[in-house]
Amino acid sequence: MTLHMPPILSYALRRLVQAIPVVILIMIGTFLLLKLAPGDTVDALVGDMGGADAAFIARLRAEYGLDQPVWVQLWRYMVKLASFDFGWSFVYEQPVSTVLMERLGTTLMLMASSLSIAFVAGIVLGAIAARRAYSATDNLISVLGLVFYATPSFFLSLMLMLVFSVKLGWLPVGGIKTIAAFYTGWDHVWDVVRHLIMPTAALSLIYLAFYLRLMRASVMEVADLDYVRTARAKGAREGRLMTHHIMRNALLPVVTLLGLQFSTVLGGSIVVETIFTLPGLGQLAYQSVVQRDMNTLMGIIFLCAIIVVVVNFLTDLLYARLDSRIELA
């Protein structure tokens, strides 16, 4: 009963404690994997310089602690990480935390807009398709869903760019705002929105297709359940069945998927941000890999791990809110 529900705070705290080992394991795993890859920061630096003699390289390595055994490097990194010190980025000549914070906003904006559009449009279209199952409307929606599902986001990005920027000239090709325009107030907001339209579309369509298909199946299943029949026997009209009896129950599996997919959307943003040259975490991750900027890369992964943990927590809260049978414990 609701009386026995523990305070939400103790639940949040417990989830947080459970998340710590997860994050630590992710960081250790990533660190070791990156060490296995050939090349390190010094290789990249020296490469930029156009080469250097072996003694200089050895001195640089010693200076950065890269001559130490891997487990010593790992230990040093983890100790610093414990106080949220991400180290220094040799590529950007700034603390990693500063670099990350500059980029975080763009990525969060892109993800939030993509996921919310995909989610809302997906459940609405899915519900419509289910209620008119096997009709022309359903077929049209299902075929559209299949097309979205089968189109790779990089291809879609390029096509959108070709049509709306190059041919029609309606939308900017890339970036997050018009350079040197110095917009303020609502002009600035509108400028950012215009820059986000195509990346959001490219990133959201595939997830829209996911939610659409799942929602369609879920609504069809719930519509056949006994309590919907009961409501019908009470004299409720079809529209009311949908809004009061079917929707909330049908949403449950879709919400689960939403939480699970947040991390894959984060991955998808790497491609989209790179194509549209959006200064976000995805683009930063790509550049850091190319430039062997290990500290920045680790910082991004740490941030992503935290985001995923937080989002999963929020999903569980939402789930408990939607399903009265679940009590947070």
Partner: protein, 548 residues
Amino acid sequence: MTKTPPPVLELCNVQISLPKGADRPYALEGLDLTIEAGEIVCLVGESGSGKSLCAGAIMGLLPEPHVRVTGGAIRFMGEELRGKTDAEMRKLRGADISMIFQEPMTALNPQKTVGWQIDEVLRLHTKMSKAERKVRAIEMLERVHIPDPASAYNAHPHQISGGQRQRVMIAMSLVLSPKLIIADEPTTALDVTTQLQILKLIRELQEEEGAGVLFITHDFGVVAEIADKVAVLCRGELVESGTTDAVLNHPQHPYTRALIGAVPALTPPPIKAASDAPVVLKGTGLKKTFAARGGLLSGKRKAVTAVKDLTFELRQGETLGVVGESGSGKTTVSRIVTRLLECDQGSVELDGTDLLAATPRELRALRQHIQMVFQDPMASLNPRKRVVDLIAQGPIVHGADPAKAREDAKRLLELVELSPAAANRFPHEFSGGQRQRIGIARALAMEPKVIVADEPVSALDVSVQAQVLKLLADLRDRLNLSLLFVTHDLRVAAQLCDRIIVMQKGEIVEHGLTAEVFANPQHPYTQNLLSSIPGRDWTPPSLQTDAA
């Protein structure tokens, strides 16, 4: 001359057609039925007889256009319902004609409170204010005898018991005093003691309101308990109808006679001479608790005791019944003795070897001697395997020659009275009763000493149930098997078991020879169980059935 009021419901020559490819063209053919105000009419039939579709036709809730009414008249209070628009039907549904469904857990929306769901009926059909509706709903909850109606009003369906859920369902159906109530197997999913309470409740409210009730059931015990009139359906055709006394005690049609003949009488088997056969299965001090759900750090896991300190003995050639209501721990017992569930304490000796202490390797060998027959024959047979492979699988796993095991499987099919030609078919090609026979053949393939049967006939129609019970008794005697028979149905237990154990909340409250326990129950719980058996005062007439 005063005109008599029209009957509440009048069905004339109703015909419901089924889609092409169904086993018959019409679900109902030429059904005539009349329900007067204040009358309870039972519509009885086995699964597939078309009785639930009859309810759908009256409510206008058939899965059209595949299944639809194609002929006849359905008159409610003298008014033809066929041809009414959906909007007109919606006005009647829930207000003048209401329904009570079988499974109260799934028939209520899990996300809405009990109060909300009763309130919805009032919102849909009346112009009452919010406060008035709430008063009315709580009043209705009181009338169906729910303890603390005010807090039940705010509870979600999963927070109240099964019996209470059915009371909520009844409150919901009766809140607008409908003239016709259609109850579709309303007590089938309930325990026997709860069932009796619900039947009494339906009776009581119906007498107060003077409504006509169409009561759909497959259980003649329930019919004897509640009906004024009875109509018997067989594959869509009305084969017999009349007063309860006439149909139950003097059935005319061969099908009715066969059905009533198949109802297990409440007379236990004769007491066998004190058995000195060796004990094959012996449970000592069995205990099992389930940890309730709880988080790592929440620190408040409440353990639920399913079985505490259970001791029993099963002798060779004997049938020991384990009876009790849901939650009594009887299924847990069946899982422990087959070691499908690890128990916390105690021992189970199978022919002198402790099954619970056996290593995994020893256990595999021992399993051969103790086999299970499950409740749901559809769910317990792999749908992608042929019958012959299902039966032969056990022996093959235990090292039998595959070709020989398959030959034996065919012989076993004959033993359970199926055609050996069935061997190469898949489970879905069989009826429920035939599938349970396959389940029994599968258990017998291992040549076990003990068969543990967990509600093996609960999912079956009464005539099929009688055949499977007869088969089990027959095989037990021929093969000198010992049976541990778990059931909630005391009629079935009376039919088959030599001795019974009565369980309540994980404990044995009474045990002894079936005949003695039935004749002279000692524990109040057993007394309550026995007095709750529907139709306990009605002894099915002994009929010379020629159609069984």
